[in-house]
Subunit: 418 residues, 2 copies
């Protein structure tokens, strides 16, 4: 008895007609012979409404009560989808987090899974039930309180169930039809990928591709859960969408699989920083305390350092989200004032963007970076910061060149060709 | 540590401002020294919205899923009120049915209480919590499924908690400020009662006074829970509203406490029914099978019976809700066709109303019926059917005289005087 996990996000269950549409997709899988576990989000708008109620009631709210309130949306969808399936004569029932139980930590609003025992749902499958409809995004703590996993947690719930039940696959139904080589709004040459490796998806997700939550991809990679991203709003079959899988399953991998970008980047440079052991910690400590998401970091020897100087200086550059710039500046100035760090000047640039190429093929192929830099040079795009990982090269450039750079890289690596 | 139960209905928690208002009423009781158990309904409109979703999804819905969906509304209110109380620095937490647990039968959508163990809530009171906010209208079955008690079930939840926790009182906050001698829309002389006996309240509730659900009054009477009905929208103190209590607590009871009425009555008469043992069962059996709520029943000897007749006849008259008249007629005709009963003719009158006087004092006072009939005669109101119980006399009259009759009876029994 093969188990399939399916997940429908908020827009895919936004009203009764869409819930019926989701039910038909479940029916198709039941007819293919699967036992199906369906994870559902709240009808779109519901969770925001509930969050609004909580924030309107209490500023520093008790996260346990927040969770008890906002989890209500998923419970409603789960019941409705179960009813719709029953109406189609498919034996189905709904499961709330505490009924499974989905055991989590007590870290309310950002709980982590502890265990998902199979016994209760398996017993129902054995009785003849074909579908378990599970409320996503929620669980129960050891204290018997309702927990939630944080926004986007339904993807993670789906992957966790697929791991716990040894599912053949975890299908994430959403409002796009798969993962693309780049954003189709930037270039019409963008092509849907049939397959992509976990590591690549992880880089793309963390680079701002909003198809899947980073955390769900991490979990899928760890437990080798084959993830499929496909559209709720189109006819789909067993070959639709994009399969996110282990790289062993990808035969003819290209060197570069995709080009990602992020517009909301700012660059900050501390000039003439005293170069001594521990200086990086002294800078990034206060930034972390202020909740700044520092991304790329580059340290250069400072132009203020002259040969033979007793004191060496360094320049420290880092990127961060644009909307955190003021907070970061304040943190640095306070650190300077309190003597934790000393720097000559602080310069910020808010008109930057990050463009990245991602591909597991880079690991075995040299010259990808040179090819990337040459392509950008041909378009006269100046590179401000470079960082690399094993399967990714990112550059910070002027924001006005972002679309041009994405298009040039998409062409250079021939991503429009299968 | 005296425990007080408070219950807020849907209109009393309809939005965040009203939830804040409810929280202030809870705060006042905490400051009087009580540990408070608050039972809440869903924000008004929410349950109807959820019921609409269910009915839009499935015609013959699975009541277990219906319950799982519609119970969501109360969970939201419970969390929000707990948050509001915390904001006022009152230690409070929310409780969903399965967390208490509120153990019920598995009769989904009309579940009955089995037990409400005190241990979990008592433990929290012992830890320093002052308020337990409990989602009304719901419970959990032995199978671990969410159950609901049916509409109006939150009143019943409140009474059940008051009984289980030995509460000093159960305060039902609603949109009226108490129980009146009659409907103030019918006569301005209607007077709010300070106290009313359980039995009287029960008769008034079943006669259509919508202040309290019949079932909650029955439960209160059985467990001698002192119930108080009072307004959410007015300033209230310990003497506000109407106390529904054991008659021992009512010193100076009047003979008649209230006048009730029901407009939606119809009268049906079967003429020339063969008078034999079992004929009543033969008539009311088919009506019960058709789901007809027969109320008053009167059997007379038929005018078709002549002295010396071998066969005696009887006329059978009963009242029922207007909207069930067609169904009742069909049931009777089918019973006639199938030979279960035989009657000469069937006449129906839909322009009738029921007016009742209620009072525990009637038990020890004779002549109340005569006084009532005389009052109606003075106003030329013709009585069509009479029924009596130990503490109630009801008459069926032409609907056009209903208001006149209520006013006349209110005057006759001097209900405007305390």
């Amino acid at each position: 008895m093969a188990i399939l996990v399916m997940k429908f996000g908020g827009t895919s269950v936004a009203d009764l007609a869409r819930i019926e549409n989701a039910a038909k997709k479940v029916q198709a899988e039941v007819e293919r012979g699967y036992r199906v576990i369906v994870i559902v989000s709240a009808m779109s708008g519901e969770t925001n409404k509930l969050v609004g109620y909580v924030e309107g009631t209490s500023k520093l709210y008790d996260a346990r009560e927040y969770d008890a309130v906002v989890a209500a949306g998923e419970n409603v969808t789960a019941g409705l989808l179960a009813l719709r399936l029953q109406e189609m004569e498919i034996p189905a029932r709904s499961w709330q987090g505490w009924q499974v139980p989905i055991n989590t930590t007590s870290a309310h609003s950002s709980a982590r899974f502890i265990s998902i025992p199979r016994a209760n749902i398996d017993a129902k499958f054995a009785e003849g039930f074909k579908v378990a409809v599970v409320a996503g995004f929620q669980g129960v703590s050891a204290e018997g309180r309702i927990t939630t996993l944080g926004r986007g947690g339904s993807d993670t719930t789906a992957v966790a169930f697929a791991a716990a039940f040894g599912a053949v696959r975890c299908d994430i139904y959403t409002d796009v039809d798969g993962v693309y080589t780049t954003d189709p709004r930037i270039t019409k040459k963008a092509r849907k990928l049939d397959r992509i490796a976990f590591e690549e998806m992880l880089e793309l997700a963390s680079l701002g591709a909003k198809v899947l939550q980073t955390r769900s991809v991490e979990l899928a990679m760890r437990y080798k859960v084959r993830l499929r991203v496909l559209s709720s709003f189109e006819d789909t079959d067993e070959n639709s969408g994009t399969l996110v899988c282990d790289e062993d399953e990808i035969m003819e991998s290209k060197v570069v699989s995709g080009v990602a970008y992020s517009r909301d980047e700012a660059k900050m440079t501390l000039l003439k920083v005293e170069d001594r052991p521990g200086i990086a910690a002294a800078i990034f400590g206060p930034l972390a305390e202020a909740g700044i998401n520092v991304d790329m970091i580059v340290q250069n020897i400072s132009e203020f350092t002259s040969p033979g100087d007793a004191q060496a200086y360094t320049d420290m550059t880092f990127s961060l989200p644009t909307n955190q710039l003021d907070r970061a500046r304040r943190a640095m100035e306070e650190a300077q004032d309190s003597g934790r760090i000393a720097y000559g000047d602080l310069v910020a640039d808010i008109d930057v963007a990050k463009v990245s190429v991602v591909g597991i093929g880079m690991r075995s192929q040299v010259g990808v970076a040179a090819q990337m830099f040459a392509a950008l040079a041909r378009e006269n795009v100046n590179i401000k910061v470079i960082t690399t990982s094993e399967i990714k090269i990112s550059v910070l450039i002027d924001r006005k060149y972002m679309e041009l750079a994405v298009q040039a890289l998409h062409d250079t690596f021939e991503l429009d060709k299968a």
